[in-house]
Amino acid sequence: MSGDLVFYGFALLTVLSGFFVVASRNVVHAAFSLLFTLFGVAGLYAQLGADFLAVTQTVVYIGGILVLVIFAVMMTRIPRGDAPRRGLDRAVPAAILALLVFALIYMVIVGTRWPERAAGAPEATVAEIGTGLMTTFVFPFEYASLVLLAAMVGAAILIRERAPADDAADADDAAGEGEVRS
């Protein structure tokens, strides 16, 4: 009973704030509202007994990606005057597309045979995940880290290219290129 209550609380939070993300006309409000959506999803994970996933969701999506999204949105100029066009020619295709996506997701949800677990106190998953990553899944794990390393090196090079051209800018540019001159 208490579990249901917690579930509905988190589900309501996720759905309402998710709706606000889509419906809000203010792009910054939409970005900040994602905070509550992502937090609600983390809560749902925790309630399903996936504690590691819940905390990882918080640290990756709220602490990392959401900060980046907000930065990107804040630095983007909000167009003034000419509001985005609204009308049937936009609404009808959008509605059809949304219905199709919904149908697809619904079919997947219904079609999948979900593994069921006996109800009970959730046990800690972190040790299991750690052992799995270092034994069974060590190759995919290392492969993923290699891909991420390549992406990081690529990002660093992209910033570097531009650096000699405008000296003034690199004092403000934060991560990765804090050159110190004597």
Binding site: I62, A124, G176
Partner: protein
């Protein structure tokens, strides 16, 4: 929380269901944590002004409350409660109103996993340490929210700096704790403290040279993480007026202040639990564990205040240089070194 649930079970006997016990215990624990946070702010604002005064050869507050101005924070609190709540006309009103609470909640949530004494922990999580780092990152969003909503370029600058700094320094902060997790084999805060039983030589910061460096790294990164001097670039008075909370008044401003001092105590508590033996005394059997824990954490807070009033502020580029080119590589060396040390001394399981 177990302590509280047991307490309520003893008081009410069978009068409460298990759900009722859980809710009552949880609420009491949350209330205690909120009170601890509030008293942190009250005690530390006074302490900060006294420390600053001492370092700058002056008295600091002396008048309110007869002895060395001890009641000054109470007077300040009354004053701040009576202040007008001003929302700038061009501010983004909903976000402006919400931001202080997001910062405060992010900080309060992290308090849940701090082990003050054996069994006295609001949420004894298996992922305790990871959880603390995760939820305290939510405060970054609050800082951005405050800076954006104020619709003031200084606030926005402060927020952008604050977020960049918090996101960057999180990495050495977390990496510095990894050697301890390797040694303990657990992320549970209770387990980490219990592993340091048996006097100061068993505390993690004296475990091996790499862990000592890791402790120093954690300490420096934690100062930057809570945006305090010499890393207080988000609120540099000389450049940005006061950074992201420039436009705030009254209680909303007080929430920023509360969160700042609560975070200061929080990072010191984590340092105490992870590196300095938690509630374990210097030697001998466990004695007044809660008091021992708080004394250690308060000493770390005083050390942070000392540094704040002694060292000059860094430049923005120096700040990022220190983080990415000095502290992150050093932290990685510590992780590697601690691993090799464990193998060499035969501690690796």
């Amino acid at each position: 929380m177990q302590v509280m649930t047991d307490l309520f079970a003893r008081i009410f006997g069978d009068g409460l269901s298990s759900l009722g016990l859980l809710v009552a215990g949880g609420l009491t624990m949350a209330l205690i944590m909120a009170l601890v946070m509030a008293s942190c702010a009250i005690v530390f604002t006074w302490a900060e002004r006294k420390v600053a005064g001492f370092i700058q050869s002056r008295y600091g507050p002396m008048r309110v409350g007869r002895w060395h101005g001890v009641l000054q924070p109470v007077a300040d609190m009354v004053k701040i409660l009576g202040k007008e709540d001003i929302v700038p006309r061009d501010a983004d009103k909903p976000l402006f109103m919400l931001a202080p609470f997001v910062i405060f909640v992010g900080s309060l949530m992290a308090w849940a996993a701090i082990p003050f004494a054996p069994g006295f922990i609001a949420a004894d999580l298996d992922l305790g340490l990871f959880y603390i780092f995760a939820v305290s990152s939510a405060a970054t969003i609050g800082i951005l929210m405050a800076g954006w909503a104020s619709n003031n370029k200084w606030s926005l600058y402060g927020a952008a700096r604050g977020a960049a700094q918090a996101v960057s320094y999180e990495i050495p902060l977390a990496l510095a704790c990894i050697p301890v997790v390797m040694i303990t084999g657990s992320l549970n805060m209770n387990d980490i403290v219990i592993a340091q039983q048996g006097g100061i030589w068993r505390w993690h910061f004296l475990h091996d040279p790499f862990l000592f460096v890791a402790f120093l790294l954690y300490f420096v990164a934690s100062i930057a993480e809570v945006n305090r001097g010499p890393f207080d670039l988000p609120e540099t008075e000389s450049e940005l007026v006061a950074g992201y909370h420039t436009e705030y008044t009254g209680m909303r401003f007080a929430f920023f202040f509360l969160a700042e001092y609560a975070n200061l105590f929080l990072v010191s508590c984590v340092a105490t639990a992870v590196f300095l033996g938690g509630w374990q005394p210097l030697f001998g059997p466990v004695f007044l564990p809660g008091l021992v824990f708080v004394i250690k954490a308060v000493l770390l807070v005083l050390l942070q205040m000392w540094l704040r009033w002694t060292l000059p502020r860094l430049r923005v580029d120096q700040l990022m240089h220190v983080c990415w080119k000095v502290m992150v590589p050093l932290a990685l060396v510590c992780v590697l070194g601690a691993g090799i040390w464990m193998l060499a001394t035969g501690q690796a399981g």
